[in-house]
């Protein structure tokens, strides 16, 4: 009797396992890679929330081409080698159909060249370096979020309007900070040949781990610029803003532009300690678009998580929907079919209608800037007025990006 029970149980276990196996084979798998630990993990958290919400919505509405969607999350820790391992795990172990994610530009630049060997499409949702849709672009890599060139182009248009002549910068000391300044210089010089830029040893690039910005702040104030372009983000940005406002930095006569100042991760933490009237940029602003889709997204997100969606939440959420659109257009989840379907795909996402350009796979998407303002209805500073720079006006021509996809075909 006992033996029989055992054999029944074993048989049952086999049935269960094979059921799980069949079940797993019939899902669409998405591999997400974000910073889930360390000083920037708040960004990964938001991305995960956006991704999970999109998957839930899609599954409730019947999935992609009738298949349920399953998400896998890996921690990139913001380090290139760890991220690459995470991506390999997604592709070879989790056997995902598509990769979504990447926060740091440094990570993206290392990971993207090896995506080609893995023959799996990747949609970047945060990392902003122009190189991944430029000098190291490839057939499998797409980006749905605003890139550095687009954001900085908008910044330089704004900087030109202010009339400020002598510019300096405060940025993080790695490729993102240096490239932001390089592009800002290039674009503003084109718009206003009279603009001047402080030399390398007088501008500020602070190491990632900096927590005390006082001497950098004194240095910038002492250089007496007309305008300061700031590309700090995350905890660096919070620390800088708090210390700078207590040192009277924002009371000076110069213009201040924060290229990533309107991240809700940062604005929520700062609350009323974010000074009013500063120009801040972002990849997505939850109040910038009045479309039904955006309103629905913001309301659903707030209901689920009790917070306003940040640009990273928006990027991850939208990338899942972009994949869904591509899979439906292709009628399959075959990786090559998805790549072909994503090329030139036009889709409405909460921030607006975007198109993945055929030439470099960068989404042509609007850049949002605005002035920080207090509003009693929100616990964080909002943007008022909001300035929207149309995607086609801030996206550099493909010939300028240095990307040639033709060879990869």
């Amino acid at each position: 009797m006992k033996k029989r029970a055992l054999s029944i149980m074993i048989a049952l276990a086999f049935v269960l396992v094979s059921f799980v196996g069949v079940h797993a084979a019939s899902t669409v798998k998405i591999g997400f890679t974000y910073i889930m630990s360390g000083p920037f993990s708040a960004y990964g958290q938001f991305a995960r929330q956006g991704a999970e919400m999109a998957i839930e919505e899609i599954n409730a509405a019947g999935g992609i081409n009738g298949q349920q969607v399953e998400g896998f999350f890996e921690d990139s820790t913001g380090k290139a080698d760890v991220a690459l391992r995470a991506i390999r795990k997604h592709v070879y172990q989790n056997k995902v159909d598509i990769l979504i994610g990447l926060d740091s530009s440094g990570v993206a630049k290392t990971v993207v060249p090896s995506i080609e060997q893995m023959k799996t499409p990747l949609i970047i949702t945060h990392a902003a370096t122009p190189d991944v849709t430029g000098s190291v672009c490839n057939k499998y890599t797409f980006r749905i979020s605003l890139n550095l060139a687009q954001n900085v182009k908008a910044a330089s248009l704004l900087a030109n309007e202010t009339g400020a002549k002598k510019w300096t910068t405060v940025g993080p000391d790695y490729s993102f900070g240096h490239q932001s300044w390089e592009y800002f210089e290039k674009y503003l010089k084109q718009l206003n040949p009279q603009a001047t830029f402080l030399p390398k040893d007088q501008v500020v690039f602070s190491p990632f781990k900096t927590t005390d910005f006082s001497s950098y702040i004194t240095k910038v104030m002492n250089s007496k610029p007309d305008g300061v372009f700031i590309s700090l983000w995350g905890g660096n940005l919070i620390d800088f803003v708090r210390q700078a406002s207590s040192m009277g930095f924002f009371k000076q006569k110069y213009e201040v532009l924060f290229s990533l100042g309107a991240a809700t991760e940062v604005l929520t933490a700062l609350g009323d300690k974010m000074p009013e009237g500063l120009w801040v940029g972002t990849r997505y602003w939850f109040l910038a678009n009045n479309s039904a889709l955006n309103k629905k997204f913001v309301a659903a997100y707030f209901k689920k998580y009790g917070a306003y969606p940040s640009y990273n939440a928006h990027g991850a959420y939208s990338a899942v929907y972009a994949y869904k659109a591509a899979a439906e257009k292709a009628g399959s989840t075959d990786k090559m079919a998805i790549v072909n379907a994503l090329e030139g795909l036009t889709i409405e996402i909460p921030t607006g209608v975007i198109t993945f350009r055929k030439g470099d796979h960068q989404a042509v998407t609007d850049a949002h800037w605005g002035k920080t303002a207090a509003d009693p209805n929100y616990p964080l500073r909002i943007l008022k007025p909001i300035k929207i720079f149309k995607g086609k006006n801030v996206t550099p021509a493909i010939s300028e990006t240095g990307c040639s996809l033709g060879a990869a075909m």
């Binding site: 190491p207 927590t211 005390d212 006082s214 620390d239």
Partner: protein, 286 residues
């Protein structure tokens, strides 16, 4: 030349914070012989506990008082149940153990308070701004500059003029002899580790109004504290003070004048000191 004064203040305020962390690290090393990798996590824990107390009582001063004391409880438990087991083992055991404690504390904090950014307000009394050399300067930074030497002075007097201080110094010179003359050395070890924990957590609570709270907030300060301790001489109290001042001031003036080279300054200083005085500035050669 106004900015010179501002630079000195900037350097001093960072240096004094550094001193509080380094003095705890160096005292623990001097007495217990343990290089505590988790010291930076205790700094971070102090900041979070201060924030938590502030949420209950809405007072920074209570946070400053109770937060580090709560951290001390954790420190005592760590010493009694974990560190105690590795004193007589190879140094690598201590390094592995304290590193494990670091990971546990960091992830524990992440589990409780999440990985988002938190900010703590300075107390109203110190939230103001003073005009120094025609520029705004936060009063809180001046407070940091004052509190460092005050706590340092109290500690120094404690070590030199009280019975317990003398006992601790005796135990650090020769723990076997100390045990021989009837001193309860295990108790001394627990007390010293508690003191080190308190100093780290106090530093964290003091830093909280200045910097955003994230589980990794201790990383930068702990690296610089290690450099301070080595420069000043492992286990040396005045060494920690001078080392912290040097690093703080070189940091702020380096930012102003050395451009990108500024990042290398602490390491260059470290290398120079090790070449000239391998035992640090304030330690007599062995």
């Amino acid at each position: 030349m106004d900015f010179l004064l501002l630079n000195i203040l900037n350097g001093l305020s960072w240096g004094m914070l550094l001193f509080l962390i380094a003095v705890g690290l160096t005292t623990v090393f001097g007495v217990l012989g343990v290089l505590n990798f988790a010291h930076g996590s205790l700094f971070m824990l102090g900041a979070y506990l201060c924030m938590q107390v502030m949420q209950y009582f809405d007072s920074f001063w209570l946070g400053l008082l109770l937060g580090p004391l709560c951290a001390v409880i954790i420190g005592v438990l760590v010493e009694k149940y974990l560190l105690k087991r590795v004193y007589n083992r190879d140094v690598s055991f201590q390094l592995l153990l304290t590193f494990a404690i670091l990971l546990i504390l960091d992830d524990g904090v992440r589990m409780i308070w999440g990985s988002g950014y938190h900010v703590v307000d300075p107390p109203e009394l110190l939230a103001g701004i003073m005009t120094i050399a025609g520029q705004d300067y936060p009063v809180y930074r001046l407070f940091l500059i004052v509190i460092g030497p005050v706590i340092g002075g109290i500690l120094w007097s404690f070590f030199h003029f009280t019975k317990w201080g003398k006992i601790i110094r005796a135990a650090s010179f020769d723990n076997i002899m100390a045990e021989g003359v009837g001193i309860n050395v295990p108790l001394i070890y627990t007390l010293v580790f508690a003191l080190g924990t308190w100093l780290a957590a106090l530093g964290g609570a003091l830093a909280a109004p200045q910097q955003s709270l994230v589980p990794s907030m201790g990383e930068k300060i702990i690296i610089e504290s290690f450099i301070v301790v080595v420069i000043g001489g492992m286990g040396s109290f005045p060494g920690a003070f001078v080392g912290a001042l040097l690093l703080g001031l070189l940091g702020s003036f380096g930012t102003m004048f050395a451009g990108q080279l500024q990042m290398a300054i602490p390491y260059l200083l470290l290398a120079a000191v090790l070449l000239i005085k391998p035992n640090g500035l304030f330690k007599k050669g062995v």
